[in-house]
Symmetry: C2
Subunit: 179 residues, 2 copies
């Protein structure tokens, strides 16, 4: 296997203290040369594929300031410090939607933008979801619940209405399951 490793020579802090810590590092390349790497360090997150008894997936529409628009996504959220990812998935589903789950099963985890960021998202499949009467979103979270069947999801992926990476991974996984 080719020698690929890059090692840190120096690091300059651009931002620290929130859920994102950002550094500009100087690295040693495999050929001995130097290069610069901006690194966004993220605390990690979970997302949850929750499907109703009548085979509709639970999505949320929310404003994404960085993109300048509202996106349709699977329920997701950042891990609290020390939080178990599975617990986070249960919590986010209950916080962002009128649904909650008995338990969740791990599906996979992945890097969202490994070219500059270490964010890992843990994807879970909710088991036995049920509608709750009350919705208690975070105080600074404004989310709208949207239910979609398989055909609608396929159309929304094709026409670009669903264009969030983690959501595409979760929904392609759902569509690949044997019905």
């Amino acid at each position: 296997m080719m020698q690929l490793e890059e090692t840190q020579i120096a690091s300059r802090t651009l931002l620290e203290g929130g859920f994102l810590n950002i550094y500009q590092d100087t690295v040693r390349l495999p050929n001995g040369g130097e290069s610069s790497r901006v690194v966004v360090r993220h605390s990690g997150a979970t997302c949850v594929l929750a499907v109703t008894d009548d085979d509709q997936v639970v999505l949320v529409r929310q404003w994404r300031y960085a993109t300048g628009g509202a996106l349709l996504e699977v329920p997701a959220g950042k891990l609290d410090v020390g939080e178990d990812p599975a617990q986070c998935a249960l919590r986010e589903l209950a916080e962002e939607t009128p649904y909650c789950a008995e338990q969740v099963e791990f599906v996979m985890k992945f890097y969202t933008a490994p070219g500059f960021c270490d964010e890992v998202i843990h994807l879970y499949r909710a088991v036995n979801i049920r509608a709750e009467s009350t919705l208690s979103p975070d105080q600074d979270e404004f989310v709208e619940t949207v239910l979609m069947g398989r055909a609608e999801v396929q159309a929304a992926i094709k026409n670009g209405e669903i264009c969030d990476g983690k959501t595409l991974i979760a929904l392609q996984y759902w569509l690949s399951e044997k019905v």
Copy 2:
């Protein structure tokens, strides 16, 4: 539909001048309150699903400094200023692997990490790929080509060896195609 929009009140520059520009913005929330948003602005990228005549997908293994390891990914790269994304896909395939394509077809585009970043990746499907004799990677790029069949890809997704978001989207798309 719920009122979801957040609008900019103020913006502080953390980094400018490279392919990542980073800001810490203050925003007005839909309920009139204020909040803070770190925004990473990215120039955009393409990735390419390239499959050989004997149904093997062309992947690259490369060091991802942010993650502290080497990842297995579809060939991908940042858009040059003003570059057509399709042209970028053809270029990256030829630069990173011993293969090149006659043309590429658009599959979909998506946000990688819309919670804090505006990066859009354009996914293309390469058409009529062929092996070239010479490999000419960028001077600061160290990449290794890996070919995988469908069963190997399914296993590598399941066991976590493939754990890059854009790559999962491209490969799930490939696996969902009728053979």
